[in-house]
Symmetry: C2
Subunit: 603 residues, 2 copies
Amino acid sequence: MLSDLEIAQSCKPILIEEIAKQLGVLPDELELYGKYKAKLQLEIMDRLQDKPDGFYVDVTAITPTPLGEGKTTTTVGLSQALGAHLHKKVVTCIRQPSQGPTFGIKGGAAGGGYSQVVPMEDFNLHLTGDMHAVTAANNLLAAAIDVRMLHEKNQDDLRLFNHLCSPDKNGKRYFSKSMLIRLKKLGINKTDPGELTANEIKRFVRLDLDPDSITWRRVIDTSDRFLREITVGQGVKENMPRETAFDITPASEVMAILALSSDLTDLRSRLGNIVVGVNYGGEPITAEDLGVAGAMTVLLKDAIKPNLLQTLEGTPVLVHTGPFANIAHGNSSIIADKIALKLVGKNGYVITESGFGADIGMEKFFDIKCRYSGLTPNAVVLVATVRALKFHGDGNLEKGCENLIKHIENCQKFGVPVVVAVNKFSEDSDADVVLIKKVALTSGAFAAVVSDHWGQGGIGATDLAQAVIDACAGFDQNAFKFLYDLKLGIKDKIEIIAKEIYGAKEVTYSEIAERQISIYTDQGFDELPVCMAKTQLSISHDPSLKGAPKNFVLPVREVRSSVGAGFLFPVLGEIMTMPGLPTRPAFYDVDLDSESEKITGLF
Amino acid sequence: MLSDLEIAQSCKPILIEEIAKQLGVLPDELELYGKYKAKLQLEIMDRLQDKPDGFYVDVTAITPTPLGEGKTTTTVGLSQALGAHLHKKVVTCIRQPSQGPTFGIKGGAAGGGYSQVVPMEDFNLHLTGDMHAVTAANNLLAAAIDVRMLHEKNQDDLRLFNHLCSPDKNGKRYFSKSMLIRLKKLGINKTDPGELTANEIKRFVRLDLDPDSITWRRVIDTSDRFLREITVGQGVKENMPRETAFDITPASEVMAILALSSDLTDLRSRLGNIVVGVNYGGEPITAEDLGVAGAMTVLLKDAIKPNLLQTLEGTPVLVHTGPFANIAHGNSSIIADKIALKLVGKNGYVITESGFGADIGMEKFFDIKCRYSGLTPNAVVLVATVRALKFHGDGNLEKGCENLIKHIENCQKFGVPVVVAVNKFSEDSDADVVLIKKVALTSGAFAAVVSDHWGQGGIGATDLAQAVIDACAGFDQNAFKFLYDLKLGIKDKIEIIAKEIYGAKEVTYSEIAERQISIYTDQGFDELPVCMAKTQLSISHDPSLKGAPKNFVLPVREVRSSVGAGFLFPVLGEIMTMPGLPTRPAFYDVDLDSESEKITGLF
C-alpha cells in the first residue's frame, strides 16, 4: 500500500506549459514557477470575455466527521474522470491549504490515493507564495494601526501634518492618493496641503481610533496557540499595552477579499474599505484612512493571479486563495472560477469545491460567492461515505442518512440539481450503498453514484462524471435562486438561513449582537450578505448535535463585519481562528531523505 | 529627473532564460519564476565542481551616515562596467531586502539611478518567497517550543510517550528520524519504542525547558514596533503567559543558517543544532530535540536555491538570503557566491556585497563567511562619498578622512588589496575628490577611483572596474589571512576584533557576559567564530563617535549564541531587531496606477 506522497512522487507530471497549451492559455498569459506550477496573467480575462462559459459544478459534502469524507479527493477524481476518460474540457478549482494544519493535525490537503493534485509537496507548502503575501498585507495594516495611535498620542496636529505631508526635495508638499480619498470622505475638496485650515488639518490627521474598538488582528500561517491571546506594545518606548491576538492566515479578511475580488481595481477598492475599528465618535476607520491600501494591493499583485497545477492524470487545476469557511466564506477565488469557465468554454466543466458541509460552504458559495461573481451554478455534487453517515446515526445508517437528506433538501432550495457521490471504501457493504442511493433519490437527488476514484483514479469516477454531465445538461439556469434578498434586514437574513438551512425553530440575539446589528444598520452595512460563523460539526450551532437537528433555538452571540470582503458574520459559538499543535504534530514525520533529497512524511 | 522606479520600469529586461544561457546555466538547472526571475538548482554545483573559480571581490563601505553612501549602487555599477563594457564574465551577489524597511523608512534597496537590479518591484517585494519561507521555518520552531512546554506540563511521562510514539494503522510504533537523533544524544541506543525503560522514557519525553532560558523568538517581515515586547500564552486554555518578542525576519538565526549553509544536508544539520534554550539542568535543548528540524528544512527546500535577476545593463545578479549585519553576519549566501565563482570561471569576477561599514560586514565576510566557505577573496572595494566623509569630520573633509584611513588599514590586516571607490555626486568639488584619492593612496589603498555609475550606469564605472581588474591580477591569494584563530578563547577573539578593527584600548565584560562566556566554554561552543553585534554608525560601540575613535573602552554587555548558524555574538549596545514605522511610512506612496496597473512610489 503506497502512501499519498509516494503515489504523488511516482507520477511524472506533464510540463505545466503543455497543460496550459492544451487548455488554450497563450504563452504570454503564463508565468512559470518552475516546471510544474504557473500563474495565469489576468489579461486572459480580457481576451476571453466574449467566450461562452462552461458548466459550473460545486462539490460539497455532508456534515464532516472525524473520519473524513474525501471531498477534495472526489473533486479531483471527478475532474480526472471528465477530462482524462470522458474527454471533456475540465478545470478543477480548489483552495490553497494553510501550513498550520499541514504541520499540525491534518497533514496535506491535495486529495488522496489516485486522485491528487501534484506536485503535492508544493501544493502543501509555499506554492507560489500567495498565502505569505496575504500575511504580509494583513500585518502591514496591523503595524500601521498601532503605530498611528502611538504617533497621534505623541504629536500635536501640526507636527503630525508636517510629518504626513512633509516637503519633497523641491520643497513641495503633496497628498498621496489615499490622503485625497480620505479628504474627500471628510468633505474637504482641496488638493494642496498648503490650503488646509487648522480645523481641516485636525480632522485630516486625527484618526482618533478607539483602541477598544479595534477588530483587526495580526495573522501568521502557523498553528501557534500561544498567540491566541497576547499583549502587544509593552516596550518602554511604546508603553501602550493592548490585548489582541494572531489568527491563522486563512482567517484574514485580506484572504476573503482576495477570493471575492473580480480584478486588481476591485481588490484595491475592497482593501481600502476594510474597517479596522471606529473612532471615538463611532465612525468606521478604514485601511484607506491609514494610507496603506495601495501598498497592500501591491503586496498582492501576484497573489491575485490563479495558480495552475495538475491532477495525477494531467487535467488542469487552478489553486487559488484559501479563506476559512467559518468566519469567511470558505471558497476559492472568483477570478479562478471565471477564468476556468471561459477556458473550458461551452460543453466544458469547472469543478469547484466549497469548504466544510453543504450548510456552510455551499450556502456561502451560492449566497455570497455567486452573488458577487454573477455566475450561475449548474449542479452540486454532494459527497458522502457509508461510515460517516453511520457515524451521524450513532452506528445506524438509516438514522445517519437524515443528515444526507437535509443537505439534499437544502441544495434544492437554490434550484440546483444534486448528484450524491458515495465515496467508496473497501469495507462498504453493498446493502449499505444501496440504501444510501435509495434515500438520496427519494429525497430528490438527481442521481446517486458510487465512486472509487481514491483507489482507481479517474476511471473509478466515470459513473459519477456521467451523472454530473446529465445533471448539467438537464438544468435550466433560470431555475437558480438565492436564498435571500440583500435588501432584507440583517435579522431577516440570519433567520432565513437559520430556519431554511439549519432547521432552527427560532433565533435569539445577545445584547451585544442586538447592538451590533443596530450599529451596522445605521452605518449602512445592512445590505451586505450574511456569512454565518458556526461549527462545521453540526448543521446546527451545537457541535454535539449530529444528523439533522430540529426544533432548536439558534443563539447569535455577536455580529461582526468584514466590510472590505463584503459580508457581515454572525457568530454562533466559539470560533477557532488559530489552531494548536498536538503533542506529536505532523511535522515530526516531515524530513528530507538525505540520499535522494526527496521530501518524506507529508501526507 | 526620473525616479529609480521610473528608470527601472523604462528598461526592457532580457528574458532571464537568455541571461542564464549566456552565463552557462543549463536549461534543466533553471527554475523560472515568471519571465525575469529564476532559481538555480543546486545540482549545478556538482556539474561545475572541477571548474576553476573566478576572482572574488567584496564591496564594503566607510561607516554609514544618514546621507547614504551608495554601496549597492556601486556594487551594481561596477558589475555593469565589468560585464557590459569591459566584456568580462561577471556575477553580482547581493542580499534580498526586508519588506519592513521597504514600506517603512528606507524604501527599496535595488541600487539606484542607472545602476539597479531589475525587476526592482519584485526585488523589493516577495521575490520568490525566500524571506517568507524563513519566517515560516522560524515560527514553526517557535510554536513547537511553547506547545511542547504546555503538553509536558499537562501530561505524565507515559501519556507523552504514547502521544509521541503512537501506534500507526498497523499497531506498530516507531521513532521518527529526529527522535532517533535525540535518543543517540541521550546515549540510548534503541530503535524500538517498546524496549525503552520507564527511566529512558522519562529522559526521552521530558525536554524540561526552562522558560526563562528561551532565546528563540518569533519573526515577521514587517516593521512592527508593537511586537518588540509582548506577552504570549494568555489564553485560558494555555494560561502560561511568557514575555517574548517578534524580531524582523532578517534577524532570524534561520536566515543566518540559510546564508552559511553549503548544501541541503548541511542546512538540515545546522537547523537541528539550533539551541532554543536550556533545560532545568542547564543542558542545551535544540530544534532536533523538538522534532522540527526536518520540517524546517523542507520549508526551506526552495529558499536554499539562489535567485537569478539582472542589472539594468543585462549582467546577471544572484540575490540570495538577507541576514542582518548586527546580530548576524550581514552577507549574502555562501551557495550563491560559490555557484557564481564557478559560473564566471577563470578570469571572471564575482562582486559580492557585505552589510554596513567595513568594520562590520567586511570583517564578518572574512572571518565568518570565508572561513565557512573556504573561499579566498581577491580584492575589496571600499565605497566612500565626499559628503559622507565631511559628515564624519563635522564638515571638515580631512578630519573625516580618518574614517576612510582606518577602514583601509583594517582591510589590509586581512592581506587583501583595497580599491577605494569615490561614489560621485554632481556637487563634489575636484579639490575634495583629489584629497580623498591622495589620502587613500597614502594609507595603502591599491587604487582610488571616482565613479559615476549612478548617473551614467556601467560606462561611468569603467575606471573603477579597471582598478579592480588590476588589483585582482596582482594579488597572491596566499596573502589572505583571518584576523584570529578559532582555537583562541572567546575573550581573546573579542579583544582582537575590538583592538585591531575598532581601535579600542580595552574590553570590559558585564557580569552576565562573564557568566555566558564561561557557560559557552563549558558547553564546547568556544571555538565558534565571533560575530560582533554593535552599532553600524561608528567604528566603536558608541553611535555618537564619528570618524576613527581611539582609546575607548569597549563594554561587552552580553554574549549570545547562534549555534546552528555557527557563531557567538557579543552584544555591545542596544541592538535593534525590530524597526518601527515613522509617522509617514514609505507605504503611503506605494500604489497601483489604476490605468496601467503599474506600481507607483517604490523607491
